[in-house]
């Protein structure tokens, strides 16, 4: 299999997202094992500026899209297809993120390559690759074989370590000119999140609440605990959707990614969209009445109990211990 591995870099407003480095690290391992080149595609406005950070790859292809600040998925997919054909790539890695949503599917349809979503792991097996994905909110795993190692893999955030993809190596950057069709969908503007009173990404201790907290009042109990611990309250999407916490407190795929020293997950089931945002925490303690909740797979300590029973007791003891 001489075809190379191509990674679609994820970048926004001049920042390279961690998922790019995660894919780089994984891609490097695979490329070395298969003895094929590893390439990165940086597409969109400002692509040239972020390319130099991606030195771990053998080559970085920059495709500018003048006139389209944030090209839609179909435009990106067509450009990727152009690269795949031009550079004879066999495996394409794309992040499973809001930004890249749809790129893999359109590319899969146009380039006639199978797309495997929700990837948590890739290994070399036989003459090809086996992609491990998480389905149904992480409750079931699947192994899919890419017999000739050709396909598109949509990689879940946090599946691979980001550090393995960072490198000081100078990147070999190549600007590739490809025709950019005028997209029907046009980007208009960003809507910045309202600055919350608290930046949860800077907190050392986070008390996170999920559906298991049951009512808005109980969020107050969590706030008491957070105060006692010297931290802040955050939550999963359902809690924010209910209006019990503001958007600035949301942790997960559409929310913040946090890496506190302590993450107390209360009444959170551990769906991938949420785990994605907090799996980097140093110590994760999870409380949930469901012993099978996926959160217990990422947590260091687990408590299979009712949050509402434990919370007040815990708060009292913390206060007592702190004096």
């Amino acid at each position: 299999m001489a075809n190379g591995i191509l990674i679609l870099a994820e970048h926004l407003k001049g920042e390279v997202a961690d998922i790019t480095f995660e894919m780089l690290g994984a891609g490097r391992t695979l490329a070395d094992a298969l003895k094929v080149p590893l390439h990165v595609a940086v597409i969109g406005q400002g692509a040239g500026a972020v390319a130099p950070k991606l030195g771990l790859a053998d080559a970085v292809f920059v495709v500018e899209t003048p006139g389209s600040e944030l090209p839609p998925a179909s435009t990106v997919a067509v450009l990727l297809k152009g690269l795949v054909e031009q550079k004879q790539e066999g495996l394409v890695l794309i992040g499973w993120t809001n930004l890249a949503m749809g790129v893999g599917s359109v590319l899969s349809a146009r380039a006639d390559l199978p797309l495997v979503n929700f990837c948590r792991g890739i290994r070399v097996e036989g003459g090809g690759l086996v992609v491990t994905s998480q389905l149904f909110g992480g409750k079931i795993l699947s192994d899919v074989a890419l017999a000739d190692g050709r396909g598109i893999v949509s990689v879940s955030a946090g599946a691979f370590p980001a550090d393995a993809g960072r490198s000081d190596k100078a990147a070999t950057v190549e600007t590739v000119a490809l025709p950019v069709e005028a997209p029907a969908v046009a980007f208009k503007r960003f809507i910045e999140p309202e600055a919350g009173d608290v930046d949860i990404t800077r907190q050392d201790i986070l008390v996170a609440v999920g559906r298991g907290i049951q009512t808005q009042d109980n969020v107050g109990m969590a706030e008491e605990l957070a105060t006692a611990l010297g931290g802040a309250v955050c939550g999963s999407r359902p809690v924010v959707d209910q209006g019990w916490l503001t958007l600035s407190r949301q942790v997960g795929k559409s929310g913040m990614t946090v890496k506190p020293r302590l993450y107390l997950a209360l009444g959170i089931s551990g769906a991938p969209e949420h785990v994605e945002g907090m799996q980097g925490a140093q110590t994760i303690v999870a409380v949930n009445t469901d012993a099978n909740a996926p959160i217990f797979d990422v947590a260091k300590y687990g408590i299979c109990q009712d949050v509402l029973e434990l919370l007040p007791v815990l708060t009292e003891k913390i206060k007592a211990r702190k004096g």
Binding site: S105, A109, N117, I140, V144, P294, Y301, Q305
Partner: protein
């Protein structure tokens, strides 16, 4: 506005999911299905658009066990027309589903009218082959935006709000007809009393269209299995008092308190 809502059920994770003996599919004995959250939101968004801007809502759903009640619920909520695509559909994955939906929509009229919007769920827990929306848009030759949380008709098309990460959102202008992947509707899905659903069962007609596909899935699944048990976390047992004590000790040991 001509609104189409395409629905497909997912396994209900309230039940414990187990793998069948063939290790390639889910054990069907206790398997139940329900519409994913995003499907419910897509329907709600369509109804909201109809209420604000007038028009018609057509619901097209891929048949599954226990689906009928949800479809009559859609009628009770205000859908004008509900169509069920029936056939051997248990193994249908995203691309195949997109083809079946595209087939139906193409039968409705080519091209779709200028005030048509096709709303689908942005993503769901069984999207192993990727999301349905982008495939569908590509098949129909229509523009697509995913992770949509807001839709406002403007100047012959729509302005949509899409979510990124970290609470950041973006506004895009999109012409009509288009396919939109709905993450959440502008309001949570409405409640409709059972009495209205039962009334809908008596007064509304569910259209059934037979469909079939030779290729329900793009690729076979080698193996389906449960993740290694939650032994990853060290479980702390006991009464709330005991648990709290132990936890406080642990945190103190790590200099967290």
């Amino acid at each position: 506005m001509n609104l189409f809502v395409l629905l497909k059920t997912v396994p209900d994770t309230v039940e414990e999911l187990t793998v069948a003996a063939d290790n390639k599919s889910l054990d069907a004995e206790w398997l139940r299905f329900k519409l994913s959250d995003a499907d419910e939101h897509a329907l709600e968004q369509a109804l909201l658009l109809k209420e604000k801007h007038g028009g018609k809502v057509t619901v097209v759903a891929m048949d599954a066990p226990e689906l009928d009640e949800s479809l009559f619920m859609a009628f009770a909520k205000g859908a004008d027309r509900v169509v069920k695509l029936a056939g051997e559909l248990a193994a249908v994955q995203s691309l195949s589903a997109a083809r079946l939906f595209a087939g139906f929509l193409e039968g409705e009229g080519q091209p779709l009218p200028n005030d048509a919007l096709v709303l689908v769920r942005s993503q769901a827990i069984d999207d192993l082959e990727g999301e349905i929306g982008p495939y569908l848009a590509d098949l129909l030759g229509l523009p697509y935006v995913g992770v949509v949380t807001g839709i406002v008709p403007e100047g012959g098309g729509v302005t949509v709000t899409k979510e990124f990460a970290g609470g950041l959102r973006g506004e895009f202008s999109c012409p009509m007809p288009a396919v939109l992947g709905i993450q959440s509707a502008e309001k949570p899905p409405r409640y409709v009393p059972i009495a209205k659903v039962r009334a809908a069962m008596k007064s509304s007609t569910l259209e059934t269209v037979d469909v079939s596909t030779d290729a329900p899935a793009r690729f076979p699944i080698d193996r389906l299995y449960k993740p290694e048990s939650a032994g990853r976390a060290e479980m702390i047992d006991g009464s709330p008092e005991e648990v709290a004590d132990r936890l406080v000790d642990l945190l103190a040991n790590q200099s967290l308190i």
